[in-house]
Point group: C3
Chain length 468, copies 3
Amino acid sequence: MPLPNQDRLFPVEPNLRGLARALYESVEALPIISPHGHCDPRWFAQNERFPNPAELFVIPDHYVFRMLVSQGVRLEDLGVPREDGGAVERDPRAIWRRFAAHQKLFRATPSAMWLAHSFDQVFGLTEPLTEANADEFYDRIDTMLGQPDFRPRALFDRFGIEVLATTESALDDLAWHRQIAESGWQGRVITTYRPDAVVDPEFEGFAANIAQLGALTGEDTGTWQGYLAAHRARRAFFRDHGATATDHGHPSARTMDLPQADAAALYQKILTQGATAAEAEAFRGQMLTEMARMSVEDGMVMQIHPGSRRNHHAGVFARHGRDKGFDIPGRTDYVSDLQPLLDAVGMEPGLTIILFTLDETAYGRELAPLAGVYPALKLGPPWWFFDSYEGIQRYRETVTETAGFYNTAGFNDDTRAFCSIPARHDVARRSDCSYLANLVGTGRLSESEALEVAHDLTYRLAKDAYRL
Amino acid sequence: MPLPNQDRLFPVEPNLRGLARALYESVEALPIISPHGHCDPRWFAQNERFPNPAELFVIPDHYVFRMLVSQGVRLEDLGVPREDGGAVERDPRAIWRRFAAHQKLFRATPSAMWLAHSFDQVFGLTEPLTEANADEFYDRIDTMLGQPDFRPRALFDRFGIEVLATTESALDDLAWHRQIAESGWQGRVITTYRPDAVVDPEFEGFAANIAQLGALTGEDTGTWQGYLAAHRARRAFFRDHGATATDHGHPSARTMDLPQADAAALYQKILTQGATAAEAEAFRGQMLTEMARMSVEDGMVMQIHPGSRRNHHAGVFARHGRDKGFDIPGRTDYVSDLQPLLDAVGMEPGLTIILFTLDETAYGRELAPLAGVYPALKLGPPWWFFDSYEGIQRYRETVTETAGFYNTAGFNDDTRAFCSIPARHDVARRSDCSYLANLVGTGRLSESEALEVAHDLTYRLAKDAYRL
Amino acid sequence: MPLPNQDRLFPVEPNLRGLARALYESVEALPIISPHGHCDPRWFAQNERFPNPAELFVIPDHYVFRMLVSQGVRLEDLGVPREDGGAVERDPRAIWRRFAAHQKLFRATPSAMWLAHSFDQVFGLTEPLTEANADEFYDRIDTMLGQPDFRPRALFDRFGIEVLATTESALDDLAWHRQIAESGWQGRVITTYRPDAVVDPEFEGFAANIAQLGALTGEDTGTWQGYLAAHRARRAFFRDHGATATDHGHPSARTMDLPQADAAALYQKILTQGATAAEAEAFRGQMLTEMARMSVEDGMVMQIHPGSRRNHHAGVFARHGRDKGFDIPGRTDYVSDLQPLLDAVGMEPGLTIILFTLDETAYGRELAPLAGVYPALKLGPPWWFFDSYEGIQRYRETVTETAGFYNTAGFNDDTRAFCSIPARHDVARRSDCSYLANLVGTGRLSESEALEVAHDLTYRLAKDAYRL
């Protein structure tokens, strides 16, 4: 990976490059709105130093370790914990060296760009990381992490983050968010309501989760009405900790709108006898519609992230658990699956549902046509594997002609890799400015319109869509 | 949207731009062949003035009003009639102002380009439409519409239309077409045979439609043979009014080739007891094959437009009816679904079937490989949401390498927005010339070949494919 | 088609063009690694002259004759044999003239480029082929084919082929390969184990094939264990004739991992009573997993080529048999279908499975995410209809950001058209260098990295992946 250069990701043709650069310069310094992600709120509550380079850059980043695994490196050798407590590499420097020795695997990937940007902008390391300079990198990063300027809150400020949303389970006590609020620190770190553990009958420990949901809220979650009331209570509790949105990670986009009596009966059946696969799918689908109805009531923005086939390899899942790089996208239908929910609430003017996809074929065929007509729908940015230069170009080229810019929701970084946040937003800003420069260069947008749109894509759309 | 500029949609690199411009200049002035669309033949029969700017540009254009709806404007406030006769906005100027106030929604969409082109080329309005100049636009357009030069026939001539095909139901009396023919006006406006209402058992009023088909033809549509004979008679009647083609809008591309006794039994079952969803699908599929067989007999070109999931929102459908922007594409299979029809008649040298898609994934995987070997098949241009600059690039880049240019059928505008016809053909000509310039610039086509191909894509292929 | 020019397929922007040219010059002369294809080993065993231009360029090339068929030329008139021995054109010059008269059909297709390259580089014919010069081309090519320099072995050497893999049925006696080995000629022509005829219960003559497999190996293929042992024996026999790989052409990517007792019972059921469609699919799926397990044992690289719907038109299949241009791609699932095999052996460090697709939607959604994490998986190059300039760009742009370069397997020509081999590799080298130049120009790869990657894509990755 080359050092970051000032014109990276801009078109090569000189006129377009100049246009893209001018657009980028107008948005480069805007604050970061990060309305969806997976940073740990504890970082900002406790504000302790990040332990070491391997724990910052390698061990928690599934983009990074999955690539090493694909070429035969064992997860154990990268320090990824085992569920059975079995031995894994404990020496962060050894992990770092393995990571450094495999840099060429990342050529032309977003990870390469994010890492180079972080090394350069955060740690002043402008050379490419190699096996030869691995220790030099390690020592410098490790030393800097020990300095006050590199504590989480200091980095948050340095990164220019205006607001950062984390994601917590519906059962979370939000203690870290409370601690942040009570600390007097001015950084805005808010939570997001993620109820998968209590709406998905196939989630580990579903029955216990439902019981806990009852205990937390004082509602009788043994009944359908009590269960819905408990959700309302938890949503209010999350809003008290800054939440403006909910998030739903489902295998499909299936929604249902059963008569309430049938929904109640389905809930009873599942609670007392467990769920078949079809019942679990139906219940998740029903709950998306219920969540949407609650959003109409309480104004929370709803995010749907469907289509990941989680934990694809049974052996890796048994040994290392969730989120270990073995989540693979699958075909996702939106047109039929969302119809029950949209029939129920799709025309509600006060509702915002932000749709994501891991199936790019849906952009032009389903998502842009849907978002281009339903007032309740907006499209989230390219997600996960598609949060990349080419992914962004494909998204803009396929979505914009049908849905325009104003049915999209700006950028999300969706990351747990804290240092990658400014890098990801920078890639998105550059990629969008390249796209806009192409529109101007080919007479599809005026320069003044492009300047306004660049600002909207970078800042205003995310802020408005998430009501921040 | 910027004012139209002379080099819009051409590549930015100067050599390619020059090539694209030269190609475009060679086809810019060619007559328009419009072999598929939805203009109202009454316009040309009566040749009355278009009522006002809102009825010309907003109320009938689902591309336009769906975008406003997506941002919370009510269909009622745009003057779109209600099925129950409920109140809708009656003031065309108020509708026009709402439309003008939301122009930024159309940025970088084909609608923006079509509208700007129409305003400029038809009405001499070169500024962008804004909230501020909405009344100025309204008054100027309204005044001009009252002038003889802006009557439908005058615009038809000014637009350089050589032939325009409209689309009528199999039950239509074609009175407007007869009136046009008898008027002595030289404009060639022909009809197209669209039998959905009498081949789709799920169409509103199917039984009554079948009875009416019998009454119109004197055939006994209570029998399978009589029903087929009635189709033959109506096809002949349509040919007498200029039709060279039939058109079929089905939810899928499913075809069937049942033994005739089974087809007759299915028809009887449906007529006497109604159709299950599966029987309706089978019957539509059988009728595609029957229509193809009749095309072998009578030489009519067959168009198949599959894959739209119509009337996605039940409430909007109940309130406002069909064609209100809530038709959403869905996944469409061609390889299996067309096999029965192709086994029956796919190798017929005299048959032409033109395939369309709303599922772009089919271009490279299914449609180009099929059209690249079956003599009966040709590919229609990018359709509906994909009739756009990027849509055309994706189509050419994905289709051409497998099917070449000569298994495609030139351009269709497929519009009911009359003023957009020259704008749409202009976008298609420019987009194709950009694509061809890229081929020449990268050594994949010689300049003399590109000139010939540009002419073919603009004019000859449509004329030949539709036998015009 | 224009004459080949030195900068064809390179970007037009001068800086990018210079970069692409520099990269290309660094790999242009590298030897050809051809690890997967369908050349006839008899050519190199007997080293007789190719009979005539029509038999070299037209009759065996389904890319060529399918395009002529699509425009109404009959297979019979192109000399393609009939299964019933019916009359077909016998005059190669008449076939050649028909081919020459339809050259414009190939505009902007890979065939045009391959043909022009062969005419120019192999036969010194630099003009475009036309109806007018058809005889001149015919005579010159025919004369040259009679010269010693144009015998198969001489061309093999002139083309710079380091290794060429052919593909033989599991039942083949490999006599031609033995003859090549015993001839003393130094050209490396190796075989590949293709067991479709003995693993697919729907293959013509399956029962007889199983019996023959038993006879060839001395194993009792009436039992599951004997059947597996027979495969092991044949794989060893193929390895003795140079094979490093197996190849599997299945309608889908379905795999199964039944308990051995169930697999044995399924085999018995199929042998004694035949297979339902579902049982055939299950058995093919089971055998992919068995083949993968044998690859873990014996180190053979496994290739899976799924997704072709073969022999789409029943009449053409009955009249002319297999491989007549009527194989059409279909939707292909990998995520669910490969899961049983991957659960069984996907994490094996010594195993290499190379996946191909005819469904480009799988690149970004399924294949790159799978290959980007499973050590056993690598992605083959764009296949068949997608072995083209645009196909290669789409592949690189969609695959690289998720899987990088090092989970791909270099280029395959997959051809039975011998003279197209250097042409195809040249197109791939140029296309990849264009892609790399774009990465460098937009700051996503350094120039030194690009030089190394260009070499890897051209030479090293194929050699390593196929263990050559």
